[in-house]
């Protein structure tokens, strides 16, 4: 713990004290906390969303169901849970690009993407992507032509958004399993595009 900054040490002490107290009061079991942490570190992550996207790319009926009721459609693949009770999928197209944010507190569709990355939670992203999305996306490596409409979705209520990116032309002949490898987390937030898996 030697190289933690003072704020971190303080936070670490505080959560340890809180967890201690709550366990004594019978309000939680440390093992339950361990299990939750492990689930979000190991199991729940963007691979889930990648499967959803790959299925939508290869099965037009599934894609219609996904766009109509995201929660039910991802549940077909076995995904669901906290922060996914009302999932809405927004589709990219040749003339429309979607990008997701939660300006108030970084809400994110956990069941399909896991927990959000640090940049998504940063004050800079939260305030700037609504104000100057094209500039922000360019800084993040994604160029969107001015003829393409950018739609920013601010998850200010209970709906959680997932972007359904366009299937890349280069991936035209791949099967569902291979396609999943092309689907990046950033493409499902809207700050990147699907890309060939890194070797």
């Amino acid at each position: 713990m030697a190289d933690h900054d003072p704020a971190s040490r303080k936070n670490a002490l505080r959560i340890e004290a809180l967890e201690n107290l709550l366990a004594e009061k019978g309000l939680l079991a440390p093992a339950a906390v361990d299990a939750i942490i492990e689930r979000y570190e190991q199991e729940i992550g963007p691979l889930n969303g990648a499967h959803v996207v790959a299925r939508a790319w290869t099965d037009p009926a599934y894609k219609r169901r996904l766009l109509d009721d995201g929660t039910a459609a991802v549940a077909e693949l076995g995904f669901g849970g906290p922060q996914g009770e009302h999932l809405v999928v927004v589709e990219n197209g040749p003339r429309v690009h979607n990008v997701v944010v939660c300006t108030l507190c970084s809400c994110y569709p956990w069941p399909v993407l896991g927990l959000p990355p640090a940049w998504y939670k940063s004050p800079a992203y939260r305030s700037r992507v609504v104000r100057e999305p094209r500039v922000v996306l360019r800084e993040m490596g994604l160029e969107i032509d001015e003829s393409v409409e950018i739609r920013v979705w601010d998850s200010s209520a209970e709906v959680r958004y997932l972007v359904l990116p366009e299937r890349p032309a280069a991936a035209a002949n791949l099967d569902e399993a291979a396609l999943a490898d092309w689907v990046t987390r950033d493409a499902m937030i809207g700050v990147g595009k699907p890309q060939a898996p890194q070797p």
Binding site: H4, A7, S8, N11, A12, L13, R14, I15, E16, A17, L18, E19, N20, L21, L22, A23, E24, K25, L27, L28, A29, P30, A32, V33, I36, I37, Y40, E41, E43, I44, G45, P46, L47, G49, P82, L104, C105, S106, C107, G114, L115, P117, A118, W119, K121, S122, P123, A124, M140, A180, D181, W182, V183, T184, R185, D186, A187, V191, G192, Q198
Partner: protein
């Protein structure tokens, strides 16, 4: 604006991408896990927690010391403490007392959760 904000190596491979950590430090994971566990137990719902989180983030953004970097889980933890105090589950005072007791441990003390107090611990009067 730091370069960290801009990096987006976004490979979708195993649930976590390319060595990117879900939690930067262990205390962050505990803060997340404790909130989620309490929600599972029905002490609050995410809506209520979120309201506190929104308030803590707004407060930090309005009033933080100029050099202090944003800590999402710092705000998260403050929201949790605030919500539990509001609910009468855990007061600021008892938390303070417990922190003090833990901080007074001799170096090398076992940090396992739920350990008993040793007799030589001081409690504040």
């Amino acid at each position: 604006m730091s370069a960290d904000f801009l990096s987006s190596d976004g490979s979708g491979a195993p649930p976590r991408s390319n060595g990117e950590l879900v939690f930067a430090e262990p205390w962050e994971s505990r803060a997340f896990g404790v909130a989620a566990a309490l929600r599972d137990r029905g002490l609050f719902d995410w809506d209520e927690f979120r309201a506190c989180l929104i308030a803590q983030i707004a407060l930090w953004e309005k009033q933080h010391p100029p050099d202090e970097p944003f800590s999402y889980y710092g705000c998260w933890q403050r929201a949790l403490v605030e919500l539990l105090a509001q609910k009468g589950v855990c007061s600021a005072r008892e938390l303070e007392v417990r922190e003090h007791a833990l901080a007074s441990r001799p170096a090398g003390h076992d940090h396992a959760q739920g350990h008993d107090h040793d007799q030589d611990h001081d409690h504040d009067p």
